[in-house]
Amino acid sequence: MSILVDKHTKIICQGITGKSGLFHSQQCRAYAKEHRPGEDVFVGGCTPGKGGTEIDGFPVFNTVEQAIQQTGANCSLIFVPPPFAADAILEAADAGIGLIVCITEGIPVLDMARVHRAMQGSKSRLIGPNCPGIITPGVAKIGIMPGYIHKIGNVGLISKSGTLTYEAAWQMGNIGLGQSTAVGIGGDPIIGTMYIELLQMFEADPKTEAILMIGEIGGNAEIQAAQYIKDHVKKPVAAFIAGATAPPGKRMGHAGAIISGGAGTAAEKKAALEAVGVVVADTPADMGAAVKRAMDLRK
């Protein structure tokens, strides 16, 4: 059935009157129109001060709370600039919205530490920040990914990257594989949802038959995921870790992509995953093939 995003998902955009917010809201609405004509999926947006207005047919509200009351939204897509994005996340969580997807890149790390602390025990789930979003192909697109890349299928995809995820989805599409749900968890050091929670969801999802994890240098989330896979995941898992050639101590684009004190290298993550039976692609050109190999090994 997919995870996190299904036919009950109703989306608003925080920052809808900004250039990026509006453009991507339109794209997501168009995706919904194409795949689920006649259904109201993308229902409006928020920009403080612009409540009561309309932008390209989207009703605009001053607060997330008001937007939920008026539209029944249960998901917020955040396109708010870095200095204000953490506050936007906290507003959405405080309003009790079930799913928060934050696209913004460049949020100060300690702001995310504050968000992490404030959201302990929250009923809201945060995906991101610094991520392309989530898509359940054929159902709803909540993010900036090109919808046509993601074919409907049964592979759960979890990735720290954006365009590398599109590359993976495209490779999978070429060999007849699609995704149940594709989740971009983001490239920042502190993120709302990590691999393990999603692995758990995909393991429990009847629609998902295999899982692809895309990771990169920095931190040890992939190594923790490997331990979790060993103990709790029976479905076939494939992976790719970007950054085998990254030099230590340098931030490679993503705020979280940095090898620090010798830890967080691609090699150690690859080794940890292989040790628990994950099929790890040797190159980024083999991600689709790795998924197929993982599935074939289980037949």
Binding site: T163, E216, M252, G261, P284
Partner: protein, 395 residues
């Protein structure tokens, strides 16, 4: 963003921490004057660079000159300074090219009873800041972590409340501190943690944290790195930036909104998206090539940015070929090709250029490339493009 030791100490001193008495010197005469001002039997002359390992490091121009020396006279200070200033210091952390030394810190000697390690970083697992301490100061902390991990103490603390007094005392007692040192530690640890939060640091490292014979805690050396994402709200800290310590092309790229890291190879890459950019470097190496750089042109590749990206890549004399790998999502492939061809003309690219495009409007884009009359090699997929790029160098 990194800063020098002398700047870190000035900031920490303002936050209430105890630092050694020290004077900054930019000429060898100033170094002599600094020694005299400190009025002690000895002083430490320390090269100021954005890297560690200075004590064991040596200068390219003076292979017997260490990066840090103990001196017992103003003349000796001046003598060493004359070799250090304007020279290039190579340490295990700088890489073979080393870093230029333009500033020295002359400090009083300390009566060291013990050397400890104190650090603050952001811990991804607990989702917040963490204090790290060890009795093994004055050494590479990675070595300690590797050999005796049980000697690394970790104390996650609350980003809103800071390090609480009892937490500071817990760490102090576990470090084996006694007597007046406990009170000193309680104060210092909390000051350092608050400093980390107030200034949006990504790292504060005090190694060694000196315990003096009198039981006082003094900051022996300090490394401070700020979160680049937070600099917009710390303009006063941005003023401390030393561009001499940074890779010029990386500085220029940052100013143009591009993400660029210089590497050692000869195959330049231009990619959209950090994960895909890292992966492009990886697949080049896999097929026997050597990437010259990481470059993420970002989501909105307009003509100016693509042009600047090429300029920056080609400014590296090592670059003998370029691989462009673009996965167009919302960004259309033909838009990118328009920018690419315009940049090609503006700069006049003379090295082999391999282009791999995928995504929206890819067929239109490929036709544009074919019709352009430019000698551009087209890669059909990621592996094909990487192999062709490596082959184009004649390697």
């Amino acid at each position: 963003m990194k800063i020098h030791e002398y700047q870190a100490k000035q900031l920490l001193a303002k936050a209430g921490a105890k630092v050694p008495r020290g004077v900054v010197a930019k000429t060898s005469d100033e170094a002599a004057a600094a020694f005299t001002e400190l009025a002690g039997p000895l002083a430490v002359v320390k090269s100021q660079i954005h890297a560690g390992g200075r004590g064991k490091g040596r200068f390219k121009q003076f292979p017997d000159q260490p990066g840090v020396v103990l001196v017992k006279s103003a003349e000796a200070a001046k003598d060493h300074a004359s070799r250090m200033l304007g020279s290039t210091l190579v340490t295990i952390q700088t890489g073979a090219e080393g870093k230029p030394v333009n500033v020295l810190l002359i400090e009083e000697g300390l009566k060291i009873a013990k050397e400890m390690y104190l650090g603050v970083v952001v811990d991804r697992e607990s989702g917040g800041p963490i204090l790290i301490a060890s009795t093994e100061g004055g050494m590479e902390i990675e070595v300690v972590a590797h050999n005796t991990p049980e000697k690394i103490l970790q104390e996650p603390f609350d980003v809103e409340a800071g390090l609480l007094p009892f937490q500071a005392r817990n760490v102090a007692y576990r470090l084996g501190l006694e007597g007046t040192a406990i009170r000193s530690a309680e104060k210092l640890f909390r000051q350092v943690c608050q400093f980390f939060i107030d200034n949006d640091c990504s790292m504060v490292e005090i190694n060694p944290l000196v315990v003096t014979a009198e039981g006082e805690l003094v900051i022996g050396d300090a490394k401070v790195t700020f979160d680049d994402n937070a600099l917009f709200r710390h303009q006063d800290l941005v003023a401390l930036r030393d561009l001499n310590e940074e890779e010029p092309m990386e500085v220029q790229a940052q100013a143009s909104g591009l993400s660029y890291v210089k590497l050692d190879g000869n195959l330049g890459c231009l990619v959209n998206g950090a994960g895909l950019a890292m992966s492009t470097m990886d697949i080049i190496k896999y097929h026997g090539g050597a990437p010259a750089n990481f470059l993420d042109v970002g989501g909105g590749a307009n003509v100016d940015q693509v042009t600047e990206a090429f300029r920056i890549i080609l400014a590296d004399p090592n670059v003998k070929g370029i691989l462009v790998n673009i996965f167009g999502g919302i960004m259309k492939c033909d838009t990118i090709v328009t920018a690419l061809l315009s940049a090609y003309d503006k700069i006049g690219i003379t090295v082999p250029l391999v282009v791999r495009l995928e995504g929206t409007n890819v067929d239109v884009a490929r036709k544009m490339l074919a019709d352009s009359g430019k000698k551009i090699i087209v890669g059909t997929d990621l592996a094909d493009a990487a192999k062709k790029a490596v082959a184009s160098l004649g390697a």
